[in-house]
Symmetry: C2
Subunit: 231 residues, 2 copies
Amino acid sequence: MNSADPTRTPRSRRERPAKPALSRAGIVAAAVHVLRTEGLGKVTMRRLARELDTGPASLYVYVRNTDELHAAVLDELLAEVDLSPAREPGGEWRERLTRLLTSYLEMLFRHPSLARSALTVHPAGAHYLDLVEALLVLLREGGVSDARAAWGVDLLLQYATAMAAEHAGDHPDSLDDTFTAIATASPARHPELARLGDVLVAGGGAGRLSWGFATLIAGIEAAPEPPVTGA
Amino acid sequence: MNSADPTRTPRSRRERPAKPALSRAGIVAAAVHVLRTEGLGKVTMRRLARELDTGPASLYVYVRNTDELHAAVLDELLAEVDLSPAREPGGEWRERLTRLLTSYLEMLFRHPSLARSALTVHPAGAHYLDLVEALLVLLREGGVSDARAAWGVDLLLQYATAMAAEHAGDHPDSLDDTFTAIATASPARHPELARLGDVLVAGGGAGRLSWGFATLIAGIEAAPEPPVTGA
DNA sequence: ACCTGAACACCGTTCAAGT
DNA sequence: ACCTGAACACCGTTCAAGT
């Protein structure tokens, strides 16, 4: 018994800064770091393995696959969303709801590549639950029925996420092509397009976004009650 | 002048079935075929090059990049959408609008992998213009103002596309995890989640979809007029 | 147990060189 | 001009083997 030293894993001290043991949290932290510095495109198993000074196979002990990793990253980023509009009773509920959603959307805009994956990969982490809870609180405050609120939350989050995802593509070529196609629409085959050309292309910015939120909220209030099939 | 034969490119007849000359249309057709048989995941430059009996570099003469290829495939598939509800005056406009959108959505459901890319890559092809035109016609018939219709079309298409994209992920693991997280929400930290648990998870099918369409249409009718900034 | 080297089967895109 | 072989710089995931 020559191992009297209580500090764990003494081993041979290397030049490297200690190489902390692998863990899910460590992997996700590294992933967030790579996301912030280089975008989601670089958040790959192989890249992270290099970052953590190991081989890609090692990560599969803690993460099921790349999609799950991205979901974990998203949940981490969700911590940045400002949920205070749901807590502090300042101002009208619709306006506070819009502020909260805008905060969510701004986070995704800061990491546009993440929005795409956010549409298909639903996180299951604590921060995601916090966000949904906050939205439900605000909708309830607005007198929205439970069934409407439950489905409405999905609609609102999906809209914000899709909005960010569209922006993420940001292929100026592709968008230009679409605009040109609309602008040069033949009045014979596409009379409405030709007539509305300007309006269709106009306003890609904040105005459209807040109109979208207002429209969704109005719809949630005005639409028929969802058919609640009790489980 | 020994080339009296009017048939072009006689060359040396090979075993291969003639190897038609490369063209953008041919590439897109091959891409659609691979999509139908193996999904968008296999619609890659390299795979298509193999399919067309050439090297991947050759495709770049006709297609800017992979995203543009996917957009072209989407526009091709858009031809499957049933636009008749916009032409035949049978039934209420809202109901016809929903039928048209459902047809669009069903197409994406048949090719779920395409929906994801449809969110970020806007097609500029003729079929896409046909679809937008049809939606505009129906909204106009419903007395929706031009500005509302212009922005509303985007909202409706985005909802349908995002719905299909979510379904596309189809990672049963990821969804199960989210459901479990909601079901086991702590009443202390997430009272609304705990209270509404059942309702939140309930109804992933057709009911939710048609509620979504109804909600959006109601919102478009009820929301404030968009601030039309004339170009 | 926990970890990993090496392998398998792929990618997008570019560019110098061929016809 | 139009086309392409070969190269560059990557991927996700698995599995047999090591400690």
